[in-house]
Amino acid sequence: MSTIATVEMDLRELAAGAVKRARELGATAAECVVGEGSEFSTVVRLGEVETLKESGSRSLGVRVFVGQRAANTSTSDLSPEGIEQAVRGAIELAKITSEDPMGGIPAPEQLGQIEGDLGLYYDDVYSLSNEERIELARRAEKAALAGDPRLTNSEGGTFDACILRKVLANSHGFSGDYRSSYCSISAVPIASDEAGNMERDCWYSVSRTLAKLESPEEVGRIAAERTLRRLGARKVKTQRVPIVFERPTAGGLLGHIFDAVNGDAIYRKASFLAGKLGQKVFGGNLTVIDDGTIPGGFGTRPFDSEGVPTRRTTVIENGELKGYLMNTYTAKKLGLATTGNASRGLAGTPGIGNGNLFLQPGEKSQDEIIRGVKRGLFVTEFLGFGVNLVTGDFSRGASGIWIENGELVYPVEEITVAGNLGEMFSNVSEIGSDLIWRGSVACPTLRIEGMTVAGE
């Protein structure tokens, strides 16, 4: 363990050293991020290992302010010469940028981090031998292809593991460091019908610890079920019907809300929710929260990419727009305070990312919601990206299952579903009780009225 401790110390010192060097060279403020990661992935296809990948990498990003001028550089060369070049490069580059009165790193009083173990890191994700990792992927695929002769092919079963470390230092003396881990299992079976038409679908389990990963058999079984139910899909007539969004697609819709309350889109008036703080924008049954502090969450971090502690922000409360999600810059532009949502890779300016974003669940199960639909569509997958945040217009390719008299009757594909996000979230008539975290965004099953299904 002593070697790991030494390495950790080095990276924090490295980041602080780069900041110090930037100040010496004339930066009025500076920030340095170091990222370190190890990744393992394997794909087993039709029982044989198809790929096996294992590697680690490190790189560093520097952001400097010279007065009100900003610039940033990144490098994968962490030698003293490489870092010197990156720091000098950033200062040099700041000469060509404009003075932006709103620029700068967070004020000292905004900096800080959540103390204690947030449950982000478990070293068990890297505890398996290659043979054991391959076996997990193999079992997931095997389960995905078992039990039905129509499951004839596969894009494979996978096992992935990843360990990341992020170090941040700035010229106000902030120094932070956290590690995170994840592992996942997935399966992508392909089924074909008598006519040779093929369908594929997938399922996965992801966890910060091996101990909580679902069994490969369970992942494979669900993947198979999802794939088989798509066989024999048809188009439907163009019409307006109630639409039930299965959790993954409902989460996609919630992701559009995130984009629309992103401080960057707001101050630019590039969102249909710009300027509507305090107004009723959606139906009174909708409450949306972003919480970067939930222990073990996929969107949890002790501090954001600018060194501001993460927090819980109510975005929508009973249909009213309560808060935007912001970093330091966009908050200044809007005359508000950062919500600790700064997000960045190593290169570039900080952007905005969600913490654990979710929609408050309702009472009914998914089955009950489907049973309540006389004639409508159950959407299980989106295809394409037809969303205009400026207007809220929404039109995406979709596939799913047709509902008649509360029963799922036949699969549907080659259709689009369209509406306007503002209207859609005002017309949510049912919210499921099934809030399940499979990533940093979670949304229960939703039923929405008044959307257009375009088909034949």
Binding site: S74, A86, S98, M198, G348, G384, G386, S395, R396, G397
Partner: protein, 476 residues
């Protein structure tokens, strides 16, 4: 030209390279290669008429691949010290099991064309000149119409140096410049808002942005789109005739058939196009190629990321499926010609078959006759992104600028139409092909399995007899 860049910068020798290949094949395997990469990049943008920030980056590393049958072992390092490369080689070798193999000792340099300039590449231009481009774009977009309220113009370039060596004797170096200028605008008119997007670039000299593809050219185009969209009506929903304008709407080919013709999906028989070689997949007016050999184009490459020269590959000839796009692995396993389509995002990634510049050749129809032939339909001229499900062939793409066609005339602009179709049959419904092939301006980035690579697309004006259009308006 600074040949042997990696030899000089990292003190590599031919002897070291053989040693690394030897380590990669130390546990057996059919083939091994090493991919060295060194990329410098610059990006800056103007936003609210200020250059708020600028970025530069350096990324370097080496990826080692070992192939045994259809199995691939892969490892990479961002530290090019000999012991790190050897470690990566031994890690990649974990996939193999058997007696050590000896790589071909005489590495033979791949003859490569010069499809793009090295001297005066965009990345060599002075920073101040790059800054001037984005300021000019900002000014031109705002000058177009007072309703243009938000302008973001960005400039990005990179210079990628690669060296690929393979146990089959492959030795290929290349220096690949790439640059792009983009303009995004938002127009506000009272309560109504609309956006516009334009941009372009390629592997050309910086001068191109000062002569032909100027900031004013892209800025005016983005502003024009936004102002037109201010007057847009909701898009009708349902099946109708669709006319695609020339150039960037070629993304239809990319999504509808391009991905389905990448050899890996066909080797695994997971593509809706599997087993259709020699069969009709399009109307006889359609001839489609993937051509990585066009001069200075965004999707062009002297050599692919496996060290093979790129090609002009016939995919569909007069409606008949003629070929797939292959990399080394697919070509060997399927007994197909290697078309030089092995590409990867960076040294961290395993190469796979990818498109370069994919386009349909011109036909005989006059574009105006195509419009005239439509009673009621959609004329789509600009697109956002698209996506395809390779297995069932269903694809969608989103039009950012489209108009209704009524009685042979282009009428009202419509808001955000989405087009959805089925890859193996959409081209069978192409009834007219214009004589006006255009390639896109050079903005395309294609994603597959989490890897992004620059690509080009193109089509002449096309008429598709029936396609589903997704909108909220009443059925056409």
């Amino acid at each position: 030209m600074d040949k042997r860049f990696f030899f000089e910068k990292y003190g590599l020798s031919a002897c070291d390279l053989e040693k690394y290949l030897g380590a990669a094949l130390s546990a057996g395997g059919d083939y091994a290669d090493l991919y060295f990469e060194y990329v410098t990049s610059t990006a800056l943008s103007v936003d609210e008429s200020m250059v708020k920030s600028a970025s530069q980056g350096i990324s370097a590393g080496c990826g080692v691949r070992v192939v045994t049958g259809d199995r691939t072992g892969y490892a990479y390092t961002d530290n090019l010290a000999p012991e790190k490369i050897l470690y990566a080689a031994r890690t990649a070798a974990l996939i193999a099991s058997g007696p050590a193999k000896t790589p071909v000792v005489s590495l033979k340099e791949t003859q490569r064309p010069s499809l793009y300039p090295i001297a005066d590449a965009a990345s060599d231009a002075e920073l101040s000149k790059k800054v001037e481009l984005v300021f000019r774009a900002d000014k031109a977009a705002r000058a177009y119409d007072p309703r243009i309220k938000e302008v973001r113009a960005s400039y990005a370039d990179e210079l990628r140096r690669i060296l690929v060596i393979g146990s089959d004797g492959t030795f290929a170096e290349d220096i690949q410049p790439l640059s792009r200028l983009s303009v995004f605008v938002i127009a506000h008119d009272g309560e109504i808002s609309a956006k516009g997007n334009s941009g372009g670039g390629g592997r050309h000299k910086f001068e191109m942005f000062l002569t032909e593809k100027t900031p004013e050219y892209f800025a005016t185009e983005a502003a024009r789109q936004a102002i037109i969209q201010l007057g847009a009506v909701s898009c009708p929903a349902g099946e109708m005739e669709v006319v695609l304008g020339p150039g960037w709407p070629g993304i239809l080919l990319h999504e509808a058939i391009g991905h389905g013709l990448e050899a890996d999906f066909n080797r695994k028989k997971t593509s809706a196009f599997s087993g259709l070689l020699g069969k009709r997949v399009a109307s006889d007016k359609c001839t489609v190629v993937d051509n990585g050999t066009l001069s200075e184009r965004r999707g062009s490459l002297n050599v692919d990321d496996e060290g093979n020269a790129t090609n002009n590959t016939m995919l569909i000839e007069k409606g008949i499926l003629k070929g797939y796009m292959a990399d080394k692995l697919s070509a060997r396993l399927m007994g197909l010609p290697n078309t030089g389509n092995g590409r990867r995002e960076s040294y961290e990634h395993i190469p796979m078959p990818r498109m370069t510049n994919t386009y349909m050749l011109s036909g005989d129809d006059m574009p105006e006759d195509i419009i005239k032939s439509v009673k009621r339909g959609l004329y789509a001229v600009n697109f956002g992104g698209g996506q395809v499900d390779i297995t069932n062939g269903k694809f969608v793409f989103s039009a950012s600028e489209a108009f209704l066609i009524e009685d042979g005339k282009i009428t009202a602009p419509v808001r955000d139409a989405t087009l959805i179709g089925n890859g193996p049959d959409v081209l069978t419904r192409v009834s007219m092909v214009g004589n006006d092939l255009e390639l896109d301006e050079g903005v395309g980035t294609c994603g597959k399995d989490g890897q992004s690579v620059p690509v080009g697309v193109g089509i002449p004006t096309l008429k598709i007899d029936r396609m589903t259009v997704g909108g909220t308006g009443s059925a056409a």
